[in-house]
């Protein structure tokens, strides 16, 4: 990113393009209110999340060990912990200790609440709906990106468990497509979300949705599921094409541009192996979104997923190793061929590569 520009220079250029007020009408810029720890890198947030979970498990086990909490009363105690964590979080938002304590308390409360729900209700459907309500409330009220990420994951996890428990495996397609649509919607509208100051609430949820999407797409590689994944692959393919169209439009490319045509043809060829490996398309969607929105986390998530996906593909029993090797070779050669054409087209058009 080029930080050599000053705000004055950027505003001046925008004013010339009619996208900003003239400089003389610009008021002073006040300092943004920064949420404590919002600038922490992802690995520190991962460390905080794992540490909070370990602390929550230890504290919950303590309450069970001394008999203060039993399964029947766990729900009540859990809700009290969750509720108490919210004002602690809000009051101590500049103090790391209180933020950690509120995170651990909330995770403890959620764990207790879920244990209590399991002891009270037999129907997973009711539990799923109640957990979804609880986690939604926490996402809205508890100002912590790690907690919002975990809460969103819990909701997805319960819906997935419900699908398996009800033996509605076909609904997995709907869940995957909902997660993919959510990923696209949130990250495509990331700038609008930031302008509305909703990023602290929505973007961690978006990250969880993306993480869940890629995680669930490992299922096609498991041999226990007798599902047809072609439908999921075709809809994900449609989403990829839509994303390519949005990016192309943003760059001023038309559908007649040779690079765009080459990419569309390449995506179509990749659809063939992706009919059985829809995770490939989802990873490409996440990769493109991550690069477009300058989100290194998404880019690395997609890259790591691709490596893991190919490794897991090795152990899938549906195809023989010979067929798998030919699929991978063909996919690899398609991409290398596509690269050749893209480099040629950009060189011929005089665009720098």
């Amino acid at each position: 990113m080029n930080t050599q520009f000053t705000l004055r220079e950027v505003l001046s250029q925008l004013a010339d393009e009619g996208l900003a007020k003239p400089l003389e009408l610009v008021t002073a810029l006040s300092a943004p209110a920064e949420v404590h720890g919002s600038s922490l890198p992802w690995f520190v947030k991962l460390f905080i999340g794992i540490a909070a979970w370990i602390a929550a498990i230890l504290i919950v086990s303590f309450f069970f060990a001394i008999g203060i909490i039993e399964e029947e009363s766990a729900l009540g105690f859990g809700l009290v912990f969750c509720a108490a964590a919210i004002p602690v979080n809000r009051a101590g938002y500049r103090n790391t200790f209180w933020i950690q304590l509120s995170l651990a308390a909330s995770l403890t409360g959620q764990a207790l609440a879920i244990i209590g729900l399991f002891s009270i209700f037999d129907e997973l459907l009711i539990m799923t709906l109640l957990v979804a309500m609880l986690e939604t409330a926490l996402i809205l009220l508890h100002r912590d990106s790690v907690l919002r990420f975990i809460s969103a994951l819990i909701v997805v996890g319960f819906f997935l468990a419900l699908i398996f428990e009800q033996e509605m495996q076909v609904s997995i397609h709907a869940l995957i497509l909902a997660l993919a649509a959510g990923t696209l919607a949130i990250h495509l509208n990331q700038n609008r979300i930031k302008l509305l100051s909703l990023d602290e609430t929505i973007l961690p949820v978006g990250s969880a949705i993306t993480f869940s999407l890629l995680g669930i797409l490992i299922l096609p590689l498991a041999d226990e599921f007798d599902l047809r994944w072609e439908f999921t692959a075709i809809v994900l393919f449609g989403m990829l094409i839509y994303l390519l169209w949005r990016i192309g439009t943003d760059l001023g490319y038309s559908l007649r541009n040779r690079v765009v045509i080459a990419l569309l043809v390449g995506a179509l060829l990749l659809l063939i192996p992706a009919l059985r490996m829809p995770g490939l398309l989802a990873a490409l969607i996440v990769l493109a979104l991550g690069f477009w929105r300058n989100n290194q986390g998404l880019v690395w998530l997609a890259a790591i997923f691709l490596v893991f996906y190919i490794w897991a593909f090795y152990y899938s029993l549906e195809w023989t190793l010979l067929v798998k090797s030919l699929v991978l070779l063909a996919s690899g050669l398609v991409l290398l061929g596509l690269r050749f054409f893209v480099v040629q087209f950009t060189a011929n058009s005089g665009e720098p590569s």
């Binding site: 000053t6 922490l40 690995f43 290398l336």
Partner: protein, 336 residues
Amino acid sequence: MNETDGLELPATQKNLLQMARQGMLDLRGYERALKIIGFTPNTQKWNRFLDVLLLVLGAGLTVCGIYFFFAYNWAEMHRFVKMGIVGVLLLGLVIATSRLPEEKLPAKITLTVAGVLIGALLAVYGQVYQTGADSYKLFLGWVILMAGWVFVSKFTPMWFIWILLIDTTLILYWDQMVSWRSPQYSAIQLWGFAINGLFVLAWELFSGKTDWLVSRWTPRILSLINFYIVTAAATIFVSEGLDDDPYTLATSVVWLVFLPAMIYVYSQKKLDLFMLTLSAISLMTVFTTWVANQLDQSNFNNDFVPLILGLLIVGQTALVVTLLLRVSKSRKEVEQ
């Protein structure tokens, strides 16, 4: 801050967002501003991204396809055909590398793939000529044969693969040649630490003077392995004592020196929050284990131990995050 100061601030994404939130820019203006400063990639960056993505993904899938192909049962194929195919591929990649501009990414990728294919060739050779040799010899041969290309490649991913091959060779050698009952078995900790540590040291010393040694993730991942080694040893030592295992004791002593050194270097000399986070996790792990062990050995009521440990973890995490933020802020102020 007066009006003039505000507009002379660098046009970062955060400052532009603040302007937009204050109503000075609408959504279109904000998105256009992000393009101007290069936060949103332009055509040039997209072309470069596609170039790298298609090359890496295409080469990666192709190499995986080749490996899957060799994993398939080739009992029916003649041995010379098997080795010939890999040999021809290897030769083709070497020729391609020699013809491509050596400073460009495609040449480096083809050389890396060729290096990886050396392993495939050795594996096929070992499959065809069943000598009963230990598997560590395959990896040792791979390391030796690949070394020359690694040194000329000036390509950090290739170096990283090579270092991992060295680690794998070491683990396999120890597993196959040193009895687990032998007192020397746990010496692998020190050897592994020494090898990875030397590479990290060399990386950090030369990275300031070498333009292609820009990746932070290679030394970070190697340091992660080293932290695992020394932390595991120190944790075992504080919980079990291990008077009869001098190598684990020695590795624990290494931890005592390594940890403060890492904290000093990566907070005062070369700010790296990842290394500092690893240091903090290591210290927390050993300290919490020690506390748990002390509580277990004392007459303290065991029912309260989980609560104490849970609160201890919360407190330590809060302290670590506060310190990381403080170090990060103070170093940025120094750099400004």
